[in-house]
Amino acid sequence: MARTSPYLVTDYRQELKAFGTGWKRFGVLVAAVLWLITPLQVGDAWLFILNFIAVFAIGGIGLNLLTGFAGQVSLGHAFFLGVGAYAAAWFGGQQELPLVLWLPIAGLVGAAIGALVGPIALRLSGHYLAIVTLALLFIGEHIFLEWTSVTGGTRGVRVNAGLSIGPVDFTALDVAGTTYSREQGLFWLLWGLVALAAVLAFNIVRTRPGRALQAIRDRDTAAEVIGVNITRYKVGVFAISSAYAAIAGGLYGAALLRSVRPEQFGDFNGILLSITFIAIIIVGGMGTTVGAILGSFVVVGLPRVIERFSGDLPFLIQGAGDSGLIRVSQFNNMLFGLLIIVFLLVEPMGIAAIWRRITTYFKAWPFSY
């Protein structure tokens, strides 16, 4: 059997296939198995962190569509997260709609607002866009504070949206006489949704709209010349990215936080939240769907791991009376900044690229092309 380079693609059908190679199929299988057994092996405290990672991965996948594929920078992602959380509180909590309704509605609300804001924001490019989306955070927080009948004003609102599909309640799973904890059930739900979100995004980017977006990112004038309707695609991807953020926000509120306040999504907390998402796609890999998931593991998970083992790292201080050089969270914040810088300088395509290099090496082994 002749071996060819794993990158050699001979026809378009092959190129379009989602899981073309055996290796990819194997990867998907491993992921499915991990999905199934992780909750059975891991304790609730770590499952909660994994669930946090899942929600950030969904938001990250959405931002990656906007930034990684279409090249537009937004610092307003946190605002759409807030929109989703409040939509979940209202439609899922107050109106008591089931998950299969309130979650898509949250996404639609996000998309609608994204489509409304998009045309204004996307007239601007690059630096201007980044800063103008900051305005969303400040104006959004003001609306969250003032629209008290929906948002509960400064004291915020409980997000009592249901997390069951039909008779299956993921917060209290009961399968064949075995009961599972809230975190176990939510792990299956949230990571299932991550897979769904990733497949959807994957389908968007490998078909016509995705190619159009990449053309815009790489050279917008050229894209326009070859007949890509720039405004339509830009606004479209802004809306889709906002929908992803709103869905992530709805899950964030309903599954993880369970109550939300305006200051979580506006002002400096909002900026921090938006930056967290950008860091996720930088670290994970711009322009790859799987990158958002990998990045989420590092950016959301690593600080918690370091905290957990800070006792073994003598230079870190935790609590009163501990000695060392620097507080754990100071170290974590520095590391956050450092990760962004190092990845941008050394590996702008993120962990995904490192991963690809490793797998390619083994796939092509013993040849090194």
Binding site: A45, F48, G156, T179, Q184, L257, N269, E307, V328
Partner: protein, 437 residues
């Protein structure tokens, strides 16, 4: 076709493997999955000195009691979280030196940094909740509010480090100290007795959030009870940079007494604007308006003349008060570098409160989280040797917070800059104020 069927059998093998692995279960899997709140299924140990059995559970291994602390060690509120946690720690250091709770169980604090961000607080809470008996400290209204739904679900007790009144009736929280409303009411009582408030123009400047509302609620209640009118009420919002119109409004009404509910970062520009405009009413400040750095600032002379601070407990260093004497002795022993700090004293009292509840839990024979929660309803009255007022505990609906306040003048010649004018006084309207969330 061949590849596909091969793929399928491969899939079947993998899933079968998954189920086998799954059957092994996680260490705590079965436990968490089946444990009923009232039936703690952790290890049960008999301890030597105790009559009967002492139920252990998460956070208690039969020897050491672990308590959670969710506090800002970094971020905008770190200057509060630091001394407060130090207060917690010094109290427990001193108890541990005598053997610990009930003379035999040492207490260990598990501290996690919330950075004063609710989202981070929720993450930290979930990281340690299965590892602690209760939460010794949760700092800040936003973080506490974020944790309340989780505490309800997990049936864990937590001590909020703020004086908001919402906590009084929450069975999962362990509030201490007189709520902010009481400070405002007692401030008016002091003003009626000493500042001729009946003939004065009374005004307020408060933050337009839940924290500001606590002061305003108390002020309105008190004004009603004493038959006073609040002539001008102005507000401001988090992040405001300019306060000239607020001062303009207060000056325009010729206010003689101004109640202020703000944080130091807002108090400072407000008072600076007042000084430079030669506006010198008597300011009555809710306790968090103060920060020690003000004592060494240019504002100090103005504050000495015009500013009174509402708080609770004796003046720092007044060892005629039993609780203060004990705290000073412990500081000398365990944290000799600690500067006078009202947040340290609060943290110290908070650990004292937890200690009383834990003693009750030990005597009830149940040191599980739910056992501690129940102990908080039967502990009776929490006392602090005069450091804070007595707090009547019981089922949350019967709790009765202290009604005392102390009022301090600013005096740069005393340690901690706060000199007590009246200590732990109360008033009839303060006694009458009802806390129903």
């Amino acid at each position: 076709m061949r590849t596909r069927s091969r793929g399928r059998s491969f899939l079947a093998v993998l899933f079968a493997g998954a189920l086998v692995l799954g059957a092994c279960g996680r260490d705590d899997g079965d436990e968490t999955a089946t444990t009923e709140p009232d039936d703690p299924s952790g290890t049960t140990e008999t301890t030597d000195g105790e009559p009967g059995e002492l139920t252990a559970g998460p956070g208690f291994d039969g020897e050491t009691i672990r308590l959670g602390v969710i506090t800002p060690e970094t971020g905008i509120a770190a200057a509060i979280g630091g001394p407060l946690t130090a207060g917690n720690q010094v109290y427990w250091d001193s108890i541990n030196a005598e053997g610990g709770v009930a003379g035999e169980y040492e207490v260990e604090l598990v501290v996690r940094d919330s950075e004063y961000i609710p989202d981070t607080g929720v993450q930290q809470y979930n990281g340690i909740k299965d590892d602690v008996v209760m939460f010794q400290q949760v700092l800040g209204t936003p973080v506490t509010e974020a944790l309340v739904p989780l505490l309800e679900d997990d049936e864990i007790l937590a001590g909020p480090a703020s004086l908001d009144a919402f906590w009084v009736r929450d069975p999962y929280l362990m509030p201490i100290g007189a709520p902010y409303q009481i400070q405002a009411i007692n401030a008016l009582s002091y003003a009626v007795d000493n500042l001729d408030a009946e003939d004065a123009t009374l005004c307020s400047v408060t933050k337009d959030d839940d924290y500001g509302q606590t002061g305003l609620d108390g002020l309105e209640f008190g004004a009603d009870a004493f038959g006073l009118d609040i002539d001008v009420s102005v507000e401001f919002r988090q992040g405001d940079q300019v306060f000239s119109s607020q001062i303009e409004a207060l000056m325009g009404a010729d206010c003689d007494i101004v109640w202020i509910t703000a944080l130091p970062t807002e108090t400072i520009p407000i008072l600076t604007e007042a000084v430079t405009r030669d506006f010198a009413p008597t300011w009555l400040g809710q306790s968090p308006t103060w920060v020690n750095a003000l004592g060494g600032s240019d504002l100090a002379p103005y504050l000495e003349e015009n500013f009174l601070l509402l708080s609770e407990g004796p003046q720092w260093g007044d060892d005629s008060v039993e609780g203060m004497a004990q705290m000073l002795a412990d500081i000398e022993e365990y944290a000799p570098d600690q500067a006078p700090d009202i947040y340290f004293a609060f943290g110290y009292a908070q650990a004292w409160a937890a200690h009383q509840i834990l003693e009750e839990a030990v005597s009830r024979g149940d040191l599980s989280p739910t056992g501690v929660l129940e102990a908080s309803t039967t502990v009776g009255t929490l006392t602090f040797g005069g450091l804070l007022g007595d707090y009547v505990y019981g089922p949350a609906e019967d709790r009765d917070p202290p009604r005392e306040s102390s009022i301090f003048a600013i005096d740069t010649s005393v340690e901690g800059f706060l000199s007590a004018l009246e200590v732990n006084f109360t008033s009839e309207p303060a006694e009458d104020y009802e806390f129903d969330d």
